[in-house]
């Protein structure tokens, strides 16, 4: 069998399997979004964090595999888990549903990117304002810069530390320094 035929057969198999699991993917994605909506509405932290094993080891893995947004949701849940463990203000504060949670994450990520790319004074100023008025924990900044689409460097970490030092305590600053040292 030539390579082209092998490729076509393997692709056909992939899409056949995808078709077979389509409903399960949609069901797991619905479960994740519904759980986020209800748990954020009622501030039910336990239900919120139960999504972590659901996505990592349960049926939610299907959504993780096929739906990009679910990866960011898992990232946010990890941030929240760390924040709660270390008694920091949780990322979901003021978020009432999945959409507002995602919007907070995306706006924060956009601000970090603007600080990194520094395309203009205005762009950097807007980003700094956002980070100043929408407080982020050390964990949120660290997870975003380590795991999302941004090539953070020491210059960026320096700029972030300068802005966030307005509301980070000494312990936070120290933690951020130690987490980002050597990156």
């Amino acid at each position: 069998m030539d390579i082209s035929t092998q490729l076509q057969l393997s692709t056909d198999r992939f899409f056949q399997k995808l078709d077979e699991t389509k409903e399960a993917i949609n069901a797991s994605w619905s479960y994740i979004t519904n759980t986020l909506d209800t748990s954020l509405k009622t501030q039910d932290v336990k239900a919120l964090l139960n999504l972590i094993p659901y996505i990592e080891q349960g049926e939610g893995a299907l959504a993780y595999e096929h739906i990009g947004e679910s990866r960011r949701i898992l990232r946010i849940l990890h941030i929240i888990q760390l924040e709660l463990t270390y008694q920091k203000t949780p990322f979901f504060l003021h978020c009432v549903d999945k959409d507002s949670l995602m919007e907070k994450y995306m706006l924060s990520l956009f601000a970090l990117r603007r600080l990194f790319f520094q395309l203009s004074m205005n762009s950097v100023r807007e980003a700094a304002d956002l980070l100043l008025h929408n407080t982020l924990s050390v964990f949120a900044v660290y997870v975003m810069t380590q795991e999302d689409l941004i090539n953070a460097d020491n210059a960026l970490y320096g700029r972030i530390a300068e802005i966030c030092s307005a509301y980070w305590n000494d312990g936070d600053k120290q933690l951020f320094l130690s987490l980002t040292a050597g990156n």
């Binding site: 390579i3 082209s4 035929t5 490729l7 076509q8 393997s10 692709t11 056909d12 899409f15 995808l18 078709d19 389509k22 993917i25 949609n26 595999e65 096929h66 739906i67 990009g68 947004e69 990866r71 960011r72 919007e103 995306m106 706006l107 956009f110 990117r113 603007r114 790319f117 520094q118 395309l119 203009s120 762009s123 999302d148 689409l149 941004i150 090539n151």
Partner: protein
């Protein structure tokens, strides 16, 4: 047609992404004597219908069809693009990522000869502040297909709304339309990516296969072919 005008065209369903994409567009340096406009289509039935609607509404010679999750990083994007179009009038379409051949299974990214530089994590690029594209030193490469996250055209051809009623394969179909009309498709060599495509790292392929099957039936003769084997067939095989 306004020969000195660029039009950014986006189909959008997310204000947060759109506003960030517009922020990066607003940072671009506009070449002297040129103007820009932006058309955001908010209630498109499909990518092709949204793009057709915007295409008909704009008199700009240069149209930049882009996804709402694309952020243009190269501030000289417009003049660099212009330098490419002006270097060879047969260039009709520029992409940021493309492929020299069409994969035998119709899946664009399965072709082994990818062109362009997508923005990736942990990649070592030249610092953006130091980056400047040079047509003579960096150049560009010809492609058979370009990825739809960014497609820049210098001439208008209708997008295929009859066959493409969703959000997939409009890029492959439109690329072939350009090739079959005798245009070249190129992808600039980018020492720093010209833009970032933040698609979340996973493609939603749940509706992809029906259009792939259709593409394979329509363009069966071109599967596995290099761009150089397609461009000379002109309009005789246009569906």
């Amino acid at each position: 047609m306004d020969q000195r005008k660029f039009c950014f065209i986006l189909c959008t369903n997310n204000d947060t992404l759109l506003s960030e994409a517009i922020h990066y567009i607003s940072q671009l340096i506009i070449p002297a004597g040129y103007t820009t406009e932006l058309l955001a289509v908010t209630d498109a039935k499909s990518m092709t219908s949204g793009y057709n609607e915007a295409m008909a509404a704009s008199d700009a010679k240069y149209k930049i069809y882009m996804h709402q999750d694309v952020f243009i990083l190269n501030q000289n994007f417009l003049s660099d693009m212009l330098s490419i179009f002006q270097s060879d009038t047969s260039i009709g379409l520029i992409g940021m990522t493309g492929y020299e051949s069409i994969s035998a299974d119709g899946v664009m990214w399965h072709a082994k000869d990818r062109l362009g530089t997508p923005y990736k994590r942990n990649a070592a690029y030249l610092p953006l502040s130091e980056y400047r594209y040079s047509l003579s030193e960096d150049g560009y490469q010809s492609a058979a297909l370009v990825d739809g996250f960014m497609m820049i055209t210098s001439t208008d051809y209708p997008w295929n709304t009859e066959s493409l009623t969703g959000w997939d394969f409009y890029d492959a179909y439109q690329s072939l339309t350009f090739l079959l009309h005798g245009h070249k498709i190129v992808v600039p060599a980018q020492r720093h990516p010209w833009c970032m495509h933040d698609d979340g790292g996973v493609l939603n392929l749940t509706n992809y296969n029906q259009y792939r099957q259709m593409f394979m039936r329509t363009y069966h003769a071109f599967l596995g072919k290099h761009y150089s084997e397609i461009g000379n067939q002109k309009q005789t095989t246009l569906p």
